[in-house]
Symmetry: C2
Subunit: 300 residues, 2 copies
Amino acid sequence: MKKQIFAAIEAGGTKWIVSVGSDYQTAEQIRIPTEHPDITLAAARDFIHAQIQAQGEIASIGIGSFGPLGVDPTQADYGIIGNTPKPHWAGTDLACAFADFSVPVVIESDVNAAALAEASSLIPRNDGRLIYVTIGTGIGAGVADNGRVSNGVHHPEMGHIRLPKHPKDSYAGHCPAHGDCLEGLACGPAISARWGADLSTLGPDHEANDIIAFYLGAFCANLLLSYAPNVIVLGGGVSLTPGLIERVRQHAFDQLGGYLGRFASPEDLHQVIRTPSLDTFSGVAGAYLLAHGAGYLEGL
Amino acid sequence: MKKQIFAAIEAGGTKWIVSVGSDYQTAEQIRIPTEHPDITLAAARDFIHAQIQAQGEIASIGIGSFGPLGVDPTQADYGIIGNTPKPHWAGTDLACAFADFSVPVVIESDVNAAALAEASSLIPRNDGRLIYVTIGTGIGAGVADNGRVSNGVHHPEMGHIRLPKHPKDSYAGHCPAHGDCLEGLACGPAISARWGADLSTLGPDHEANDIIAFYLGAFCANLLLSYAPNVIVLGGGVSLTPGLIERVRQHAFDQLGGYLGRFASPEDLHQVIRTPSLDTFSGVAGAYLLAHGAGYLEGL
């Protein structure tokens, strides 16, 4: 039987990755800067059209997009980008933008798509719960539960939760809505605004490392106490800082205060708080799962 | 067709309610103080035996219990109470304690059971997500998602998450493990330890009301940003304080900072942050759903 062909899109706020093929490892893909939606969407469509000529018809399109974004297929705002500060993108209808291909278009948040892919890679039989967190220009998180995205009334907006302030941190925060929410304190721009450089440039001895790890550790501890996931994956640019994840594990362990019996030492967090197993491909791999899948969105 | 009879138990840290019948409204029930497990369990069994004589055989037993508690039927610790500070109860095996009845025993945390019952009462077609929070001797929360309990590796332990401190609150906190986690700051004993009385006795003008509402409001805001539930139900003794829930809604609204478009004013939170619809019966009603159910625990 001939392999099915899909289009998979990681629609980021800085760049889009558009991939056409049967899986993310062997597919053809391009990277497009995120400009005015008219330009970016046209470039994505052109690439898909060209790949259809080369590879044959596609069965469906999966999109993992920056948000906020309507992700409930039963609602009128499904696939429509919400109130983003990114110029021109608020109100963009991603489903309509790809309607001309006349195939199902499955749309989720970028971090939910990444969570699906990491769960499928990291959890045996995909029988468990994984939270994918990106710490970069912003902070976002997605939840995969037994192989499915787990949204409530909307996709998670966990970047904006409140946590205790680090005792040495007097920064008022970077979030236009909340000031010192998690994103306002620990996203890439909040680091640059406080210390004039990113963590890797500041070097491992700079106190910024401990302050950022404190916030991410407290966030992980709160997630372990609430969602009780099998795995938390920390992705995004800030997470690539050498040595950061070890500090995050230590802070999470300290904040748990021995309360969860399954963590007797910080080493017990090594397989639970970790970096992406799919390197930088979590998003695209997740978009393929959305495209294949429709499986998890019954009745689509 | 004859109605099926069940036993339903709300196993609290202070009292047990044991109910036998076909639903919580028409059943026979007793209230037993929580003493040494040998005494409490024997009293519960005796009542069920007597009711079987009067009403006929039971089909199953549902138990919503205080925790921590093993709730995964595939694990060896299923139905066993974990490391509780309550004397003599750690290690108590609730499944074995009722094995002599030779019927299925379905066991969940008390707050997960209450969440199931409130969701079934409050969410049309039970097609959504509800979080039940109890604020009393401790703070705990359970999650019902589309009519099913939503646990991860273990049941939620959300009472122990960390939140920002209220600027006027210098209390070090009441939790033996964490000091100033949510439970350590806002449970009943933390209120009495700080101000020498409960909120209702202190009266509505005492600053304690605003401080406790601040923590519960921040907790609700974090829940709305992460789980995005349709409804958050605030139960337990502290939640009965007159006027408290209005203050909690206001603080939650303030902390959201306009970020979630569905809440344009604090009034939009009235149907979302609310008191129990089943009065004090959420726990027992949930235990009946567990007993009926097994429906949601496939393969039990």
